[in-house]
């Protein structure tokens, strides 16, 4: 492609798109500069691989107006977030992009910038992929590959009754950010400063995979997963997958200052925060006798974790203590389901 082409010029042909993506493979010899039709991966010695595929589509996982830099970041981050929650370090990724129409030079340039920023931050490289054109929303389907020391992946099926329940970061920001991105007037209605509203929107557009937590999870967690479909729904999943009951203390769920400000005007929003998707924080169970060590290791890694409940004997049912100690009224739909 002519690098002097104007930003609104259309990138014409698959080969031109591939040429723009090829620099993202630097550092990944098995990508063959996207000149081969497959990627080659030499697994590091004494490791196992952790694999995840989670596509993102315009209008569902990101908004039509989002910048290509943000779209690229999110497409990679939501997959790397899963690897982090399993205690894995990202190695590389494959990416299939479906365009409803040929992209412009400006969009592709921004998209490559966003991927470059994300992969530099996350420590991985593009290894291969595919592009096509089809009707429907712009879709980026990434498959991320990470490595863990042999036998050390942290499953979500192995939480034990008696374990403490931890969550990283803060919950509900992205759900509020999505609402703000869709309806700008909410900023005033919720009494937020520009900086606070911007923070919440960024939490929706730029999830931060908790890679710094991977080592502490491998060392101390009995089970872990990332939260993508809402804290409550994903906690229910972990309980079911592990066959144990769980208890969540709503008042202990960590909220950001902007989220607290929204809550102050409308305390009933708590249930929304606990069921909104897109948190991309880590939910982990830790045996009681390791809970303090886990929290200390997380703190040393610069990641806040908060104890928000625990796992209990009994059938896999979630009980929630509301902020006043009584039960919490939940909406009928307790998390994101596509169907």
């Amino acid at each position: 492609m002519d690098r002097r082409a104007p930003p609104d010029a259309v990138v014409s042909g698959e080969e031109a798109i591939i040429a723009l993506l090829a620099p993202l493979t630097q550092g990944s010899p098995g990508a063959f500069g996207l000149k081969d039709d497959c990627a080659l991966l030499a697994p590091p010695p004494d490791t196992e691989l952790v694999l995840k595929t989670d596509p993102v589509a315009e209008g569902i996982h990101f908004l039509p107006g989002d910048s290509p830099q943000d779209v690229a970041w999110k497409a990679l981050a939501v997959n790397v977030s899963d690897l982090a929650a399993k205690g894995a370090a990202p190695l590389g990724y494959l990416m299939a992009v479906s365009f409803p129409a040929a992209p412009t030079v400006g969009w592709m340039t921004g998209f490559v910038e966003g991927l470059q920023a994300a992969q530099t931050w996350f420590g991985c490289h593009l290894m291969g992929g595919d592009t096509d054109r089809r009707p429907g929303p712009l879709t980026i389907a990434i498959t991320a590959i990470g490595s863990v020391p042999r036998g050390r992946m942290v499953p979500r099926t192995t939480a034990q009754a008696g374990d403490a329940l931890f969550v990283s970061g803060t919950i509900g920001d992205a759900g509020l950010g999505l609402q703000l991105a869709k309806t700008a007037a909410l900023e005033t209605a919720w009494g937020l400063s520009d900086a606070e509203a911007s923070y919440l929107r960024q939490r929706y557009r730029r999830p931060q995979p908790r890679l710094g937590l991977a080592a502490a999870l491998r060392q101390y967690a009995s089970a872990a997963m990332d939260i993508s479909d809402g804290l409550i729904k994903d906690l229910e999943r972990m309980g079911r997958a592990s066959g144990v009951a769980s208890r969540l203390v709503a008042a202990d769920v960590p909220l950001s200052n902007p989220a607290r400000r929204v809550m102050a005007r409308a305390p009933e929003r708590l249930a929304e925060l606990l069921t909104a998707g897109d948190d991309y924080e880590v939910l982990a169970t830790v045996p009681q006798d390791k809970a303090r060590l886990f929290a200390a290791a997380a703190k040393a890694a610069g990641i806040a974790v908060t104890e928000i409940g625990g796992m209990l004997p009994g059938p896999p049912v979630l009980s929630i203590a509301g902020p006043s100690g009584g039960p919490l009224a939940l909406p009928e739909r307790t998390g994101w389901d596509h169907f």
Copy 2:
């Protein structure tokens, strides 16, 4: 899901879809029965991994009327075909399915049947994935993972001047099959029997990855790739990726009997056959002194291979000798490009 549900009932909820897919993970302990959010892969000792992602979408890679069994087969086969061409053995796959509307029980049952048949044939298992609902065509995005002995992947970038050029199977059947599937009246126009027309349609709907050729490719080929976008376009790609010229003798390109019958009535169709996509045959270059050994090894594996030209010194330009020895008139667009 209620197994007595009528076939036209809708499968409701992601969990119900996942439950239908879970049996496909049997034999793949790292899939955790789809109860985890990531898959775990322990690479076999002394191997490297070969990875490929190639989504298929309704209306582009398969037809709206195709059976769910055929759709499933093709979605996996097009990815495994790439692995075979690299000399790799499939280990497993991740699959992200996007439905425009919740699927019916009948469709999902057929889809799982098709995947089960394909993975039994190809020797691999479902390891993980994702389902969502979004506008646009039904899309199945598979990432296939295979293994090769360390250092033995067959690239497409390493063809050498002087090598013989081979192709497996027959070329152009799927392109004719696609036309027949779209326009039934062509069967009569082309003078085909029902069996011949059915054969060509099957070649479009049920590509056969040439897994039996993998060992011969590893042992003898200097470069290889699968043909998905048309023989000519993919041969040009191999020449460019390897930096050598190539020569194709059109009269030597192997055609099936049904394709020969179509050709007999319209010899000008030859160019179409050489540029139609969806062949999923293997294109391989082999040093001259190993050409006979390669052909013998392929024959022993039950796969026909045909020498159709060779690689030459010089810039990466493809020259084609037409059936009468002169140049071959080609359509302006010499293969599939989405853009």
